[in-house]
Subunit: 324 residues, 2 copies
Amino acid sequence: MPEAESAAATLPDLDAIRSAQARIAPYVHRTPVFSCRSLDAEVGARLFFKAENLQRTGAFKARGATSAVFSLSEAEARRGVVTHSSGNHGAALAYAAQRRGIPAYVVMPENAAKVKQDNVRRRGASIRFCAPTVAARDATCADVQRETGATLVHPFDDVRVIAGQGTAALELIEELPELDIVIAPVGGGGLLSGTAIAVKSLDHAAKVFGAEPANADDAARSFRSGRIEPLPAATTIADGLRTTLSPRTLGAIRAGVDAIGTASEEAIMRAMRMTWERMKIVIEPSAAVPLACLLERSLDVQDAAVGIILSGGNVDLERLPWQV
Amino acid sequence: MPEAESAAATLPDLDAIRSAQARIAPYVHRTPVFSCRSLDAEVGARLFFKAENLQRTGAFKARGATSAVFSLSEAEARRGVVTHSSGNHGAALAYAAQRRGIPAYVVMPENAAKVKQDNVRRRGASIRFCAPTVAARDATCADVQRETGATLVHPFDDVRVIAGQGTAALELIEELPELDIVIAPVGGGGLLSGTAIAVKSLDHAAKVFGAEPANADDAARSFRSGRIEPLPAATTIADGLRTTLSPRTLGAIRAGVDAIGTASEEAIMRAMRMTWERMKIVIEPSAAVPLACLLERSLDVQDAAVGIILSGGNVDLERLPWQV
């Protein structure tokens, strides 16, 4: 599988993550880190939550998108950027393009949550709807590229995007060098790849864990088998994590991640609700998966100092999971 | 009305607020201040939100309660403290008593929200339920005092409590001396009194505004008439603000507040929801009332730098106002 190996080889190093950090600094927040005694007691560890739900566009995706958009040459940038996304990366790319003053085209399934559509439109991007299948999505993306000459910015399979996502863990370790473990949710693996590269390249003793819904445990299985495993048929409320890895992210994760835990739908819902009730912050289901793994003990963090990346806070307030 | 006049005279000064700040510092958070460009654009001003929803116990009430509890003599403290409260002050008093290691008794109406009951019980206080009338509440409080010798810590009509509540505005002005206006919601008036005393005593040019539901506009009417006006018959989702002023808080508010705005129930709901969606933080309806006044333009803040005290974040996640 030579293509896969060559793609997997193209990963950012710590210098690339530091360059991304400098490049994106004017456009993203250095997000705060929160702690909560009652959650610490619940889990039996000291938890430090990096609040990427308070990031611009409501998710860490603003980091990767601005990293990519501000890496483009003037000639490339002028023709715009295009992506497919269930929403958070789309909104982030729209935001990044708006800040650079270039067009953005976002291909989205017709059934995407309204709050995610609004997040894209509010930033002046054009939405192109497609049927909710991978084939329709890719075809529509290719159409846009052909029509406009826009550069595809993939949600995770992109070295500039991964470098941007790695800046969240970089900030977290800079602020809390005493961390024993850093946990990030894993869907396509951009955030987890960037996190693993940042933490492990810092010559830091901290472990890196991934966290995934049991109903979308393809990354956990791929991590064990070394091959891209398919998504299970079951669905998950953590809609941002319904994605398989790419050879590139699988390579980074196999190299730098120590374990991937899984969580039930019930635990994800419970962790999400506990975070809202006790920390008073709005997080989306995907962001609750690391805490859910700790509640179900699928990852061992006993007595450790644990950094958790709260990946985002974009939810449809009309339809909360515990009310369905 | 000599009693009222004498009560009104007993208010904290800036020194008392600074003493409270030192006394409570080990037990409360210096809460962060957030801003949000899209809300600034909506309102036409620069807004700075003091996030007391992230305060211990989920509300600014922790400030006043710890101020009062840590003012008691050893002999007083040993017999405990008692209060009546729809919840936030009760939880705060339970927390303060727990930190001092003394008993707390909280008198609560039988229909108080479950999340507020849990917040009290989790902190080891005893709840005494009463019928949801002022007479039953006061009688039950008196019973507890007689039985135990506990000190009554009133939710707002207490000089030590008002001094504690004033520390939120003190922190806000210390951090942002450029503020033109500070806005706090007003129910019984403890927070607004402390805010007005802190801001105006700092020899600071900032104006102080109160914000109140139109359906509970007794403070706005009392502010104009100079007398304690009764609550309207209508109800409001801002349950923390269904209280009339006391002569003491009316005095402080008449002396130091520049205007009191009112907001419709629709605007309160909209402001609450906008805060959740755009700022990704959980606030309760009462905390949304200042922003609601700005959305409806019942307070004029055009182009100003405006500090807003987000008073709390304790909501029942089963029953959100926009879903009823």
